[in-house]
Symmetry: C2
Subunit: 284 residues, 2 copies
C-alpha cells in the first residue's frame, strides 16, 4: 500500500502555540488549579492528555474561583476576560495571534463608528469571541445571501472568521459595498486553511482512499472531509487509528492522509502505523 | 410628431450650482478680471454666454496675474489652488460638492497611509484633480482589467470619479481586495448619471428617433449617446437645434430628447422648438 501524507496536515501556527503553552503551564508545579476556558483546541485527544496532567476544561468561569485560566486558541469573549480579571485569576492568553488581530480590528472599527459585519458561522466560538469586541451594531453572515438581508448603513466594516474561504469574504464585501457609502474590509483570513484544503484536494484525486484525521467537533476537519469527499468518495473522517476499517482498503493500492488544524502529530503517526499494520507500508 | 422629453435631462446639481455661481460673479461690476480655470462646465454654449459677460476661459494660471478665478465644476488640482492663492488671486470655488468630497477622501486616506486607486479615465479633468490630492502612491484604473495589473499592497483605498458606473467600482474593489490586507472604499459615485442613463434607455426603446443634447467635449453626453445608440440606431448627438437633420424624422412618429449634465435648459428648449418647427409638436 502506497501512503501519501499531506505536508500541511495537522497543527497550524495558532494551535501549535496554544498547545505548547498549555502543556508548559501544566508542567509547572508552582500553580494551584489550572483550567482552560472551553477546550484549548478542538481535539478531544489533546484535551484528554492535558486532563491527565491536571488541566481541567471549564465551560464557564462560574466553575472556578481561584488559580489560573488558559484562554483557548479560538479566543473567548471580551466579557469573559473582564470577568477572569475581576476574579483575580491568573490569565494565560493562548488565543491565536491571527484571531486576536481580528478581535482588535473589530474593536477599532467599531469605535470609529463602523457598523460591523463578521463573515463566519454564528455558533462558532471564534465568531462569538470576535463579535464580543464590537461596541456598536454587529451582524454575523455566513454567505452573500445572508448579507443581502442586511439593512443599508453609512459605514460598514467587514472582518472574517480566520478559517473562512476567500470567495465568501469577497462576495459579502461586494454586497456590503452596495449597502454603504463607505466600506472597510480587513482580510483576516489565515492562509493555513486554504493551503491545507488545496493540498488535500490534489492528494484525494491521486489515491484510492482518503483519511482525514481530526476531532469530530472540529469545523475545519469536517470541512476538509467534505472537500475530499467531493473528489474521492472513499474518504473517511477519523479521530484515532482504532477507527480505521480494513474494508476501506479493499482493491485500493494507495491511501492519502491529511489532518485538521487541531490534530497533533502523534495522532497522525498512530494512524500511519495503523495503516502499516493492516496493509504493509510504502510511504510516498 | 410625439416628443418625449426625459425628466432627468440636463443640468445636474453640481453643474447648476457652478453655472449659477459663474453668472452671478459675471454680473458683479466691482471686480476686475474674472476668469474660469478651464471651461466652467463642458458646454461650449454656456462658456460662450459667459464670455459675452466678460468671463474668459484660461487653461493655465500663467495667463492671469490679478483678479478673480473661478474653479470649474470638475475641480482643479491641489497645486493650481495653491498657485492661485500664492498669486493673491480671489478664488471662487465652483467645484461640485460631490467631486470635492472625493478629493477630500483621497487626501485623508492618502495621509493615513493607504495606496490610492482611483476608478476613472486618466485624461478626465475631474480625475486629474482628484489624483492631485494623494500624498502617497496613486493609480488610476478604468476597469477591473486595469486593476489586475496593480502590484500587491498592504492598505488600498478606492475612490471613484463621480460619473463612473457602479459595476466598474464593484469589480475594481473585488480585484483590490485580493491584492491587500486592508481595503477601504468610498462610494463617491453620484446617482445623477445612472438615473439619467436608465431613463434615457427606456425612452430610446419607445421612440423612432432619439436626440441627445450636449457638448461634444462632454464625456457624460458622449456616453449617454452610446447607451441610446445600443437601443435605438436612429440616435444623434447634437449641441444645438441648428444641427437637427429633418431626414432623421422620415417615417418616424415619435422622438425622444435627453441631455447631458452640462446642457442648460435653454438649449433643450431650443431643440424642442426646432423639432416643432420641422414636424409640429405633440409633447409627451
Amino acid at each position: 500500500m502506497k501512503v501519501i501524507v499531506a505536508k500541511n496536515a495537522g497543527f497550524c501556527f495558532g494551535v501549535k502555540r496554544a498547545t505548547l503553552l498549555a502543556f508548559e503551564k501544566a508542567s509547572e508545579t508552582t500553580a494551584g488549579v489550572t483550567c482552560t476556558l472551553g477546550p484549548i483546541i478542538h481535539s478531544p485527544q489533546v484535551v484528554e492528555r492535558l486532563e491527565e496532567k491536571g488541566v481541567r476544561v471549564i465551560n464557564s468561569l462560574d466553575e472556578m474561583s481561584q488559580g489560573r485560566v488558559i484562554l483557548r486558541s479560538h479566543g473567548v469573549t471580551a466579557s469573559e476576560i473582564q470577568e477572569a480579571n475581576d476574579k483575580g485569576l491568573e490569565v494565560i492568553d493562548a488565543t491565536c495571534p491571527f484571531v486576536k488581530k481580528a478581535q482588535n480590528q473589530v474593536k477599532i472599527l467599531s469605535e470609529e463608528g463602523y457598523d460591523m459585519v463578521i463573515v463566519g458561522e454564528k455558533e462558532h466560538p471564534e465568531v462569538a469571541g470576535i463579535v464580543s469586541y464590537a461596541t456598536g451594531r454587529v451582524f454575523v453572515v455566513a454567505s452573500a445571501a445572508d448579507a443581502l438581508e442586511l439593512p443599508s448603513m453609512q459605514k460598514i466594516g467587514v472582518v472574517a472568521q480566520t478559517t473562512q474561504s476567500y470567495n465568501t469574504l469577497e462576495e459579502v464585501a461586494a454586497v456590503c459595498l452596495a449597502k454603504a457609502k463607505e466600506l472597510r474590509v480587513f482580510n483576516t483570513i489565515c492562509d493555513a486553511t486554504s493551503v491545507r484544503q488545496d493540498e488535500a484536494k490534489v492528494i484525494a484525486g491521486e489515491v484510492g482512499c482518503m483519511l482525514v484525521i481530526g476531532g469530530f467537533n472540529s469545523a475545519n476537519t469536517r470541512r476538509l472531509t467534505e472537500i475530499c469527499c467531493e473528489i474521492q468518495a472513499n474518504t473517511h473522517h477519523i479521530e484515532t487509528a482504532g477507527q480505521i476499517d480494513q474494508e476501506w482498503f479493499a482493491g485500493v493500492d494507495s491511501v492519502g492522509v491529511t489532518a485538521g488544524a487541531s490534530t497533533p502529530k502523534w495522532l497522525i503517526d498512530e494512524v500511519l502505523e495503523g495503516i502499516n499494520a493492516l496493509c504493509g507500508d510504502k510511504k510516498g
